[in-house]
Amino acid sequence: MLNDQTNEVFPEVFSRDGASHLSRRKFFGIMGGTAAVIATASACRKNNGMHNSGINLGSGDTGVLNYAYALEQLEAAFYTQVIKTPYKNMSATEMAYLKDVRDHEIAHREFFKAALSSAAIPALEVDFKKINFNSRDSVLGTAKAFEDLGVSAYNGAGKLLVSADYLTIAGKIVSVEARHAALIRDLIQPGSFADMTVVDAMGLDVVRTPDEVLTIASFFLKSKLNASNLPTS
């Protein structure tokens, strides 16, 4: 089962601990105290130097939008393959849901491509050899990981944007990713739409930095991404 595989491959990222610690950090940032600043700074230091060669996402809002575009490319490619080679015994209901999700992700991808125009990064090459497209467990486990990842990525990217219009666009997309995440989770385990692995004791969803997100995404990408010019606050 991919869930277990991914937990072995990325123990920190696909388990919730790293993420909920991050939320707690944010919370203490709000509650005040320099400890939060230090904690954030050390988290940043840890990530410095990663994802600094390959296709350059760019800087400023353009860079953040390219970052979102990269994730949407990954998701759209995944669901396109899921529908092209449905897993064994995929029910009609599941097929309909997954087709919808595919269409949404294609719409997101193509939207960013059109909006970024000449500033858009090229089409990325994906690497799905870790996914068994014949297996419901593998496909839905990956889908869950991608959707939760997408939610945490947009939640972390909001503060990086300068334009209120782009923030609103990101907001329009992230809640749809959250809807996907909830549905996929309910298909795997009814009632797990917002369980403790993604929502912490303060009722907050996961948030991840671009470095954290790209570390996970890179396991499914042949293309290398350079996020070194992305804004950090």
Binding site: G32, G171, H180, V207
Partner: protein
């Protein structure tokens, strides 16, 4: 209670707060822009000196102040939390799974109330406060069965969650001057999205959709609610758009993307005024 005047609650406890907030909104923004790295809790202290300098500040150009925005969010969370507390208490659930789902959502809404209360207080402002008696969950008689008919209860829950998603989305730009508040609001926003998706899933599974035969999914198709009451329509109006930032989403890039899918792929924001119009009937 007249919801348009909800902030009179704050005003009563702190008569000068609007003076201070209104004339200083843009200072708040300026302040946060130039010192985004400073922990939020230190704002009241630092603001003190900034406010003195800016006594002749012009009125704010657009948007609500951060404390106004957080109190607006807190108001919506109180509405939701009180609804779910009562719903779990009444306990009309057909099975353990639906009870568990409502309990989970109740706990999240309570956590949101506590989080926002704490954050607003920590920043030196006064949080609004509501109790069960402040609400009328029948929405002035529109949903008489809200706590006696399972389908009505689910329909109201779905509407609250879908509205909450749209409300947070609409408010996010007002929090841009402070990264911590913005990120926390986004983290709540996506949790509301998860709730909305699950309630829609529950309503579909329980075969409670109206008109019957409608295919309600975890995402919002066009401006369909799947609820047989015109009273909820304002929560769905505008969700049918298929053009984003000047980009036509239907059949975008030569892909076979229907208008339905194009509308589902993007949730739409609501303004504070739109949200207040929707939730006002739910206040006693």
């Amino acid at each position: 209670m007249n919801l348009q005047n909800i902030f009179s609650v704050i005003e009563k406890s702190d008569p000068e707060i609007f003076d201070r907030l209104d004339s200083r909104r843009n200072i708040m923004k300026q302040f946060a822009r130039t010192s985004g790295k400073i922990a939020v809790a230190s704002i009241p202290f630092a603001l003190g000196s900034m406010l003195q300098k800016a006594s002749a500040a012009p009125p704010p150009p657009t948007g609500d102040s951060i404390p106004d925005t957080l109190n607006f969010a807190l108001t919506l969370e109180y509405l939701e939390a009180n609804f779910y507390i009562k719903a779990v208490e009444v306990g009309m659930f057909p099975d353990a799974a639906s009870k568990m789902a409502f309990t989970t959502i109740r706990d999240h809404e309570n956590a949101h109330v506590n989080f926002l209360k704490t954050a607003i207080s920590a920043a030196g402002f006064t949080p609004v406060s509501f109790q069960f008696a402040d609400f009328d969950f029948t929405a002035k008689g529109n949903f008489p069965g809200v706590f006696s008919d399972y389908g009505t209860m689910l329909a109201v829950a779905q509407t609250f969650e879908d509205t909450g998603v749209r409300a947070y989305k609409g408010q996010a730009p007002n929090l841009m001057s402070n990264n911590d508040y913005l990120t926390a609001a986004l983290q709540i926003h996506s949790v509301e999205g998860r709730h909305a998706a699950h309630l829609r899933y529950m309503r579909r599974k329980a075969n409670l959709l109206v008109p019957s035969g409608i295919d309600l999914k975890p995402w919002i198709t066009l401006d369909q609610s799947g609820i047989g009451s015109a009273a909820v329509q304002a929560s769905y109006d505008g969700e049918q758009v298929v053009n984003q930032a000047g980009v036509m989403i239907t059949n975008i890039g030569g892909f076979d993307i229907s208008a339905e899918a194009a509308s589902e792929a993007f949730d739409e924001p609501l303004t504070k005024e739109q949200v207040l119009a929707i939730v006002t009937p739910f206040f006693a």
